[in-house]
């Protein structure tokens, strides 16, 4: 595991954390318009959807699985929310229904993966298309914008005069829960074991399928929460909300040092990755880099983020080898 040789290893999550600080310092110093409160609130607000989904995604990737349908689940939740609102249903009823829908979406992914033994990459590419298709059927090309003001204000407002969005505090609570779940509970410990060797985990009496099913379900729930937040934050429920968000989430999580093969990584690293990506996107927007070019940068980052931790690990292995004189096997 990544935390074995703390002293020796180049820890990728630390590298990403440091990189985030460098980018922020640089942006504060040299990028026009970066440091004003409105921009910072935009940065955080626009990054929150990525961050929210990155929480369960981190746990999922640590356990060796992935969910690419999250953005579609988010879009579907937003679309259903819009459609029900158009029907005149109360928002207090709609939100729980949408969250339940997210649970169902996640459960379907989880059941396909755990009961039928299908690879999650394939399953969730399928449901990525399916959920988005349903969203379009539900809402068509409508855009629903007239949600209750207090909800819209909460989703886009700031705490007092600060740059901190109102929604940031609930996110911090969820982050704390996720950190504890992954790094301080038997559940989290079992995820690392499952990701590193599913068979050994099973032979240690860990309920692999149950844990995975739970994770997919929670991921669906968080995706739909994100979809609701997205629709309110941008005051627009459309079937194509959050399209492509899964790319950002996966890129950010991998950038944060979560090993795509499972079993390695920290939530701190993943969240640092999320905000590093968010800050870069913000800076690019301020510099009038086109959206298309930003996607290119995200894609390149995704590749680099898979490469980076490996290089870091090899460096640390090489250093450890020279220092501790690798024991010969015989």
């Amino acid at each position: 595991m990544a935390d074995i040789s703390l002293s020796r290893a180049v820890r990728w999550d630390t590298v990403v954390g440091a990189l985030l600080i460098v980018v922020l310092l640089f942006s504060f110093g040299f990028v026009d318009g970066f440091s004003n409160a409105l921009n910072l609130s935009f940065l955080i607000g626009n990054t929150l959807p990525i961050a929210l989904i990155a929480l369960p995604m981190t746990l999922l990737v640590v356990s060796g699985e992935i969910d690419l349908s999250v953005a579609s689940t988010a879009g579907l939740s937003g679309a259903v929310m819009g459609a029900l609102w158009n029907q005149g249903m109360a928002i207090e009823t709609i939100i729980p229904i949408c969250l339940l829908l997210g649970v169902v979406c996640g459960l379907i992914n989880g059941l396909l993966v755990t009961r039928l033994g299908l690879p999650s990459l394939a399953v969730t590419i399928g449901t990525l298309a399916a959920y988005r298709g349903i969203a379009q059927i539900v809402l068509g090309s409508d855009a629903v914008t007239d949600f209750p003001t207090q909800y819209l204000e909460f989703a886009s407002g700031r705490i007092g005069d600060t740059f901190v969005p109102d929604a940031f505090l609930p996110f911090l609570v969820l982050l704390a829960i996720a950190v504890v779940a992954l790094h301080a509970t038997p559940f989290g410990r079992s995820l690392f074991a499952i990701g590193a060797s599913e068979e050994a985990a099973r032979f240690a009496g860990i309920r692999v399928k149950r844990q995975k099913l739970l994770l997919f379900t929670v991921t669906g729930l968080m995706a739909s929460l994100t979809g609701i937040f997205w629709a309110l934050h941008f005051a627009s429920a459309r079937y194509d909300n959050a399209t492509g968000l899964e790319l950002s989430v996966v890129a950010a999580v991998l950038l944060g040092g979560i090993d795509f093969d499972g079993g390695k990584g920290t939530l701190g690293g993943a969240i640092a990755g999320v905000f590093l990506l968010g800050a870069l996107q913000n800076v690019m927007s301020l510099q009038d880099v086109s959206a298309q070019s930003q996607i290119v940068v995200t894609g390149v980052l995704l590749v680099l983020s898979v490469l980076g931790p490996r290089v870091a690990r090899q460096i640390s292995v090489a250093r450890a080898g020279r220092k501790a004189a690798s024991t010969p096997t015989s």
């Binding site: 240690a204 010969p328 015989s330």
Partner: protein, 505 residues
Amino acid sequence: MTHPSTTGPAPVLALKDVSKSFGAVRALRDVSLELFPGEVHALAGENGAGKSTLIKALAGVHRPDAGQVLLDGAPVTFHGPGDARDAGIAVIYQEPTLFPDLSIAENIYMGRQPRRALGRIDHKATHNATAALMERLGVELDPDRPARGLSIADQQIVEIAKALSFDARVLIMDEPTAALTGSEVARLFGVVRTLREQGAAVLFISHRLEEIFEICRRVTTLRDGALVGSEPLEGMTEDDLVRRMVGRDLDELYPKQEVTPGEVALSVRRLTREGVFTDVSFDVRHGEIVGLAGLVGAGRTEVARAVFGIDRWDAGEVTVDGKALVNGAPSTAMSAGLALVPEDRRAQGLVMDMSIERNIGLTGLRTTVKAGLMDRGAERSRSLDWAVKLQVKYARIADTVNTLSGGNQQKVVLAKWLATGPRVLIVDEPTRGIDVGTKAEVHRLLSQLAADGVAVLMISSDLPEILGMADRVLVMHEGRLTAEIPRSDATEETVMAAATGRAAA
């Protein structure tokens, strides 16, 4: 200290005063070795004695820091495994690496198939060349048959054929028999004898001493990287050899304590998994070590897996201390007091990338918990406690288990399960691939556990181990339990007869 050759030709391959260090670790110190044509030479030593390093020096993987590699008496420097191969030195590893979807002939001539016009592969020539190799080895293997499905022995024979196709004069066999059954070993040895008669030099490594005595003429023993000696095996006993390897008299290899069995602990009734095993019933009592013998593929491991809940059973019942287990649920089997030390420690027993501490901790995820959170202090002391009790040799408890030797890895697996305080312990091939010193330790441990009232079910392909340790021997053949033999009647003959289906059930 090299043994001078008394008869015959000069050594085909030799090491002279070779040393090799990895950082501060001196893996080989002034080791010399001579391999003569037409001899099978054993290389003996405990895990970590330097056998692998020596092989790698011969095979061109490592370059010695000091000393010489001599080929036909002349010093040579191998710049890589390719050089050694071109010099006629081939290494056959424990686990062959064939392409399963290619035919035997294609595997042997991979990348250098005979060509016809326009660079097309000449399948006929490839086939014929392979058939000739097989004939030379005296085995019947169809060159066109895909490698998939070949037994490990046959895969090794293909590797040997491949070595011969490179005109190998020296074959280094690194624990080739570790995963083989008795009849497969015989098949492999037949080929080795043929090679010997054809004048090849064979360096043979095995943890099974009886094999060394069966096939080898001389033995070179290493201990802690240094040469103990090279000498003829004639006149030596297994105990002599063990003493040279471990440097002291080994306490008895099978320290079985007499125990009066108590109540039935594990009861298996009419257990069936369709197509795998049928109608298996047996009891293991507290204080008893019951051996489960049989050929590989007889269904022993599968029964253990089903009992523990890794696989589901189709019919039957399993109880631990009278409490019925749930079908297909390892976690409930664990709470009932069952522990399984699986056959494949690298894939099933351990998470290789995890630390010793956390591997042992994996079985305590439900006990080292405070208010729903991991109690890291309790986890660490539990892991340290058991690692020390089992004398695991490690630098730091936070080191990953893949830094440990095979024997120490096996101790970590045992530690992991003993830490659960099991009432019933199933061990599947508990000493496979570990050195003789550790093996004796594992046996002493199992014996002590039984004396403390644990019911032990021991699956093993190592017959002396079964005979030496078990109070009773159960034998499986083709998915059925064919015999139950008390300790007093258990001999190699009775057990093998039942295992091969020659005895009536």
